[in-house]
């Protein structure tokens, strides 16, 4: 019977060994459920049993090989059973301890030492138990094991005690110094709370009332002022020649460097604090050792550094005294057009946003009564919320923020919001709120801090009155265009898809700003606001025309003048081919580029640049166009870009060849376009080559890029680039 129990216990011992090993291996993943925490907390209760049992057991072990024990069955059995029971209980204590260590607050070196000492106890005991009947288990081994066990047990016990009672529990009554309670910045004294702690941490072990190295003590203000063997510690206002800082700044290998090698050194921040403090001694009242931190001027470096020592790093989380609504309710309230979301993971507070004018109904607000305690923020911007709907909002007792911009509410509805005792921010921009409503109601919103009233029709004078009457509320009036300085209109825009036409075109010029008047000229002069005709929807053009246009509106500066070139192309060839390859980086759409009605622009970043400009540099432009039906032509124009700065020039020469077949082309016209002779702004233009009218089926258009950039230019001597986007045949 008893053997059976021992057998079970041994099996159990094996199991717990594995279990503990496993827990230790994956300790970082360990999560203790709440119901198991009490078990962990019984660790201090249980641990005394294995402690005593194991001490007894190893005691018996140590003397097991004596004459009497060898023969006593009781002794043998007692030793074995005690060791086994002690080991098992130790296992339980270890498991409990591991569970307990997962609770908040068990960090630090002592915990680690205690944990491994405890684990050591268990595994050592297990080892002893399994080896005690082996042949090599001699009295010597038994005694060594016993002593070792005693040591580890003491260690585990000691660190355990240090955990519950504190590391200095035993020596506490003898300790001279007591720990400081944290000081509030309001009360903080420069010397006592900023400077003295540095001495205490880094200097006082050698310089105190009992141990006056170099006859210097730093434990109180009087001693600090007195100085040591070499003299006074500091010269007021002159840190550079003060002994204190000189010693600190000496190189590390210098014998007189302080703190001495091997001791904790001062941090740069500490050195700076000391230096600023010595410097400040020369200021009026600076020598006062009882001066408070906040008595220093706000711009004082010492004050700024010192204040940082006391400021808590993280702002406090907003706290709410209500419970969270259950997840199911919140989930149910979430629809496609209403978001109900927890402020944060651990927060009970909810933020609610409603969207979509078309689906809004007051019922959506009514349903929020299920979470009326929890909603702290509600956004209803741009929804048709009526004054009556505000009744439902009035129930949301903890609401802090309410956004009603551009809703249909009026000031009359504010009454419904009076129950909102926590309301801090209210947005009423774009509503029909009036001064009278606000003036009466605002004082009743005790916690209100911010109110937006932009686009409400409340005059700036009334806003000022509201601000005066409610100094605690930041009232935001926003931007008033009528009061601001006039700004310049942007230029009119061409609405035609392309300014290239064959017979006629209705030129369409528009402006994005409502109520703008566009005036224009077609003679190259700048339009003015009196004499130039008003551009009305569209103007019919039958000839190539340059329209200069300007936009006007009262309250605005007129726009800059803008030119829209309308180009005529009577004949579009049935096919076109290029004789020589294009510049590899300016391929555009090949020969089709010239007849696709799409114009290039200056901005090289724009897709219109790469797609619409065909470029020639190494090879000339040689374009053969074919007309299935012969056409009568009298001019050919190339639309080009000139930007001398980047080496883009007009062609050196243009030749027009024509004829009735490909093989019989004759030179019809030659022209040398005007070239820039100095730096000048970039421009877009059509270079037209006119000649006596003739009928042709084929035209060859030849244009050679400038082969030698002139000497005045930065890239003189190089080949210029020729860019062409359209070819106009008339």
């Amino acid at each position: 019977m008893s053997n059976k129990i021992i057998g079970w216990a041994e099996q159990g011992l094996f199991a717990v060994s594995v279990f503990i090993g496993f827990l230790l291996l994956f300790e970082s993943q360990l999560v203790v459920p709440v119901w198991l925490q009490p078990v962990g907390r019984m660790h201090p209760l249980l641990l005394h049993f294995p402690l005593v049992m194991l001490l007894l057991a190893v005691g018996l072990e140590a003397f097991r090989f004596g004459a009497t024990p060898e023969t006593s069955a009781v002794y043998k059995k007692l030793a074995a059973t005690l060791l086994l029971a002690g080991t098992l209980l130790a296992a339980v204590a270890v498991i409990m301890g591991l569970l307990l260590s997962k609770e908040v607050g068990y960090t630090g070196e002592v915990v680690v030492w205690h944990k491994w000492a405890g684990v050591g106890v268990f595994f050592l005991a297990t080892l002893l138990y399994w080896s005690r009947n082996k042949s090599w288990y001699s009295p010597m081994v038994a005694r060594t094991g016993a002593v070792l066990m005693g040591l580890v047990l003491t260690g585990a016990g000691h660190y355990g005690a240090a955990l519950t009672h504190g590391t200095d529990f035993i020596t506490a009554p003898m300790a001279q110094y007591q720990k400081k309670v944290p000081v509030d910045v309001q009360q903080a004294v420069v010397f006592a709370d900023v400077i003295q702690p540095i001495f205490e941490q880094k200097c006082i072990t050698c310089h105190n009332a009992n141990k006056l190295k170099g006859e210097l003590a730093l434990h109180d203000a009087a001693s600090v002022q007195k100085g040591g063997k070499t003299g006074k510690l500091f010269v007021a206002g002159k840190p550079d020649i003060s002994l204190l800082l000189q010693r600190i700044h000496l190189p590390m290998d210098e014998k007189k460097h302080m703190p001495p090698t091997g001791k904790a050194q001062l941090t740069p921040a500490e050195i700076r604090l000391l230096s600023l403090w010595v410097k400040g001694q020369a200021n009026p009242g600076g020598a006062d050792f009882n001066k408070r931190v906040l008595d220093l001027p706000a711009s004082d470096s010492l004050r700024m550094m010192a204040v940082a020592l006391f400021t808590p790093i993280k702002p406090a989380e907003p706290e709410f005294d209500f419970k969270a609504a259950d997840d199911e309710t919140v989930k149910k309230l979430n629809t496609d057009y209403r978001t109900v979301a927890f402020l944060a993971k651990e927060s009970p507070a909810l933020a609610v946003n409603l969207y979509n004018k078309a689906t809004y109904s007051a019922g959506q607000l009514k349903e929020l009564s299920a979470v009326k305690k929890q909603v702290v923020s509600l956004n209803l911007n741009k929804l048709p919320v009526k004054d009556a709907d505000l009744t439902y909002i009035g129930q949301l007792e903890n609401l802090q923020r309410l956004d009603l911009n551009f809703t249909d509410v009026t000031g009359k509805g504010l009454r419904e919001l009076l129950p909102l005792k926590h309301l801090e921010s209210l947005a009423l921009s774009g509503t029909k709120t009036t001064y009278a409503d606000l003036n009466g109601q605002l004082p009743n919103f005790k916690k209100l801090r911010a109110l937006t009233l932009w686009e409400t029709g409340i005059t700036s004078g009334e806003i000022e009155k509201l601000r005066k009457a409610n100094p605690g509320i930041q009232i935001i009036a926003g931007f008033d265009g009528d009061k601001s300085a006039p700004i310049r209109l942007n230029v009119p825009q061409m609405a035609n898809n392309s300014p290239i036409f064959s017979e006629s075109i209705r030129a369409q010029i528009i402006h994005p700003v409502k109520g703008v008047q566009i005036r224009y000229t077609t003679d190259g002069t700048e339009p003015d606001s009196i004499n130039s005709p008003i551009f009305d929807k569209s103007v019919l053009l039958t000839k190539p025309t340059s329209i200069n246009a300007k936009a006007y509106k009262s309250g605005w500066y007129s726009s800059p003048v803008v030119t829209f070139d309308y180009y005529k192309r009577t004949h579009k060839p049935d096919s076109a081919t290029l004789l020589y390859p294009l510049n590899p980086v300016h391929l555009a759409a090949g020969a089709n580029t010239f007849f696709d009605n799409r114009l290039g622009t200056f901005t090289a970043n724009s897709p219109a640049w790469a797609n619409n400009w065909a470029g020639f540099r190494a090879n000339p432009m040689g374009l053969i166009t074919e007309f299935k039906k012969p056409v009568r032509v009298s001019s050919v124009a190339l639309r080009i870009m000139e930007e001398e700065e980047t080496g883009i020039f007009p062609p050196e020469v243009i030749e027009i060849w024509g004829g009735t077949s490909r093989e019989t082309l004759k030179l019809i016209a030659t022209m040398k376009p005007e070239q820039p002779t100095q730096k000048r702004p970039h421009l877009l233009k059509a270079i037209t080559c006119t000649f006596a009218p003739q009928t042709v089926s084929y035209l060859k258009i030849f244009a050679r890029p400038v082969s030698k950039i002139p000497d005045w230019h930065a890239s003189k001597g190089g080949k210029a680039l020729l860019l062409v986007d359209e070819v106009l045949i008339n």
Partner: protein
């Protein structure tokens, strides 16, 4: 006989072994009950994170990031360095440059002549912040801004630097900041994506932007940034084809969802569920987007505030206005990119135009959010991917110069969202070349942004291919000094 004994012994041992084994396994099983996450393969909530639920109460609910793509020159905008004008034309002392790696564009330059700003600076507001004359509107709102003059990054070229500031890593394939926020906070408005992107282009030398910058990386694809374009259809393919009614569309989606559900049952691929969600979102966006983006009802004050260009689609001003409208409608992260800040040459001319493009609308956004009471819960960020050198790239002439890439320091500003208003944080040295005080690494900046949104950057993790990834990789600290 011997054999039997041996076998008995073996059997005995095997039996003992097995029974012991079961005990041992039992113990392990018991132990594993206490480790709920031990055998979980992936799980972002390992560190106590639930997607869509901030770690702590957020100061900011939304972000608008006005990204100045190409790296605006801090010396001409916000970092006032009068000393550079004094030292005009003098060579940058090698001690200042140290062992810094230069770009291929100026590494071969024989000398590095310092160049001061061509434009003057003045102090503004109660904060007395220095702002150049190129930014008159921004100067008007300095008391709402927090300038960080001591930003620094690790990359020296556009693509890696952009990718770094957007995703926390110089190589691609990590989720962008907006995707992390979408993952961390979820949608506020279920009718709009949580992360949207708007592009615009200035006159200056431009650098590319590409969809990897608003990628969801290894996160679920619902967190990807949705690009709104400037054309008639801000969101492409959102309109129903002609002749298709809403009911037909609904029926089609329902049937499609059933088919998708079948294949989800079969393969269990989470991307299928994501796809269904995206179809549903697109359906709701069909009604939400046109109303949200309609600018025709904006009052005249708004047009004057942002400038008339806000009515010209595709401009920075129009995107700022759109950003406000999206943000106001609960889009968590609106990312703007304005191209054209890469002034290697011709800087005075180009930067003046660039600044004019963005100044009024950037300041307008601050004022507009404020007058709606939204600035306190919207974090606005303005800045590029790195800074520019204090020495000139190319030839220094009387009125023209350029500046090369400079990762060691650059200036950004932030506003709203619980950031201290009206302060300047960090300083560069008098040559504007190195940081003199309070350096802010890109990861610190990202950690701070996440912090304002209620997310602990060390806990916002996603386990992918056996590693827990963060936006801030393995570094970053929250800059508490700029938090109100």
């Amino acid at each position: 006989m011997e054999k039997e004994i041996l076998e008995h012994g073996l059997n005995f041992n095997r039996r003992r072994f097995l029974s012991r084994m079961s005990l041992g396994l039992g113990s392990v099983a018991l132990g594993s009950l206490l480790m709920p996450d031990l055998f979980r393969s992936s799980g972002a909530d390992e560190d106590g994170f639930t997607p869509g639920m901030p770690h702590f109460a957020p100061k900011a609910k939304r972000v608008i990031y006005l990204f100045q793509n190409g790296a605006p020159s801090q010396q001409e905008l916000f970092d006032y360095k009068p000393k550079l004008r004094e030292l005009m034309g003098q060579d940058l002392p090698p001690s200042v440059r140290g062992t810094q790696r230069l770009t291929g564009m100026t590494a071969n330059q024989k000398e590095f002549p310092l160049v001061g700003s061509f434009v003057d600076f003045k102090q503004y507001g109660e904060s007395r912040a220095w702002v150049s004359d190129l930014m008159p509107y921004t100067a008007g709102v300095v008391d709402d801004l927090c300038f960080v003059k001591s930003m620094y990054t690790e990359a020296i070229n556009h693509d890696p630097a952009l990718t770094f500031i957007q995703t926390g890593s110089q190589q691609g394939n990590r989720p962008s900041m907006g995707a992390w926020l979408s993952y961390g906070l979820g949608n506020e408005n279920k009718n709009l994506p949580a992360f949207t992107v708007l592009l615009s282009r200035g006159i200056g030398n431009g650098q590319g932007v590409y969809s990897k910058l608003w990628s969801n990386g290894f996160l679920d694809s619902v967190h990807q940034g949705v690009q709104f374009s400037k054309g008639e259809d801000p969101v492409l393919y959102l309109r129903d084809p002609e002749g298709m009614t809403r009911t037909e569309r609904r029926a089609m989606l329902d049937n499609l969802a059933q088919l998708n559900d079948l294949s989800y049952q079969e393969f269990g691929d989470p991307e299928i569920a994501a796809k269904v969600q995206q179809y549903e979102m697109a359906y709701r966006m069909q009604t939400a987007v046109p109303t949200v983006l309609d600018v025709s009802k904006e009052p005249d004050d708004i047009i004057k505030l942002y400038g008339p260009d806000c009515l010209v689609p595709g401009t920075f001003a129009a995107n700022c206005l759109m950003a406000r409208k999206l943000s106001e409608n609960g889009v968590r992260f609106v990312q703007l990119y304005h191209q054209g800040w890469d002034q290697h040459g011709n800087l005075p001319f180009e930067i003046a135009k660039q600044a004019k493009d963005v100044d009024q609308a950037s300041a307008a956004l601050i004022t507009d959010l404020k007058q709606r009471g939204l600035l306190d819960e919207t974090l606005v960020i303005w800045g590029g991917e790195f800074g520019r050198t204090s020495y000139t790239q190319g030839k220094l002439t009387k009125d023209n110069y350029g500046r090369d890439h400079h990762p060691r320091c650059f200036t950004i500003w932030m506003a709203g969202g619980g950031i201290k208003p009206g302060i300047v944080y960090g300083e560069t040295d008098e040559m504007g070349y190195n940081i003199a005080q309070n350096p802010v690494h890109v990861h610190d900046f990202q950690a701070t942004v996440l912090n304002q949104l209620g997310l602990n950057h060390e806990k916002l993790v996603f386990k992918y291919q056996g590693r827990r990834f963060r936006l801030t990789d393995v570094s970053g600290k929250v800059i508490h000094d700029i938090i109100a």
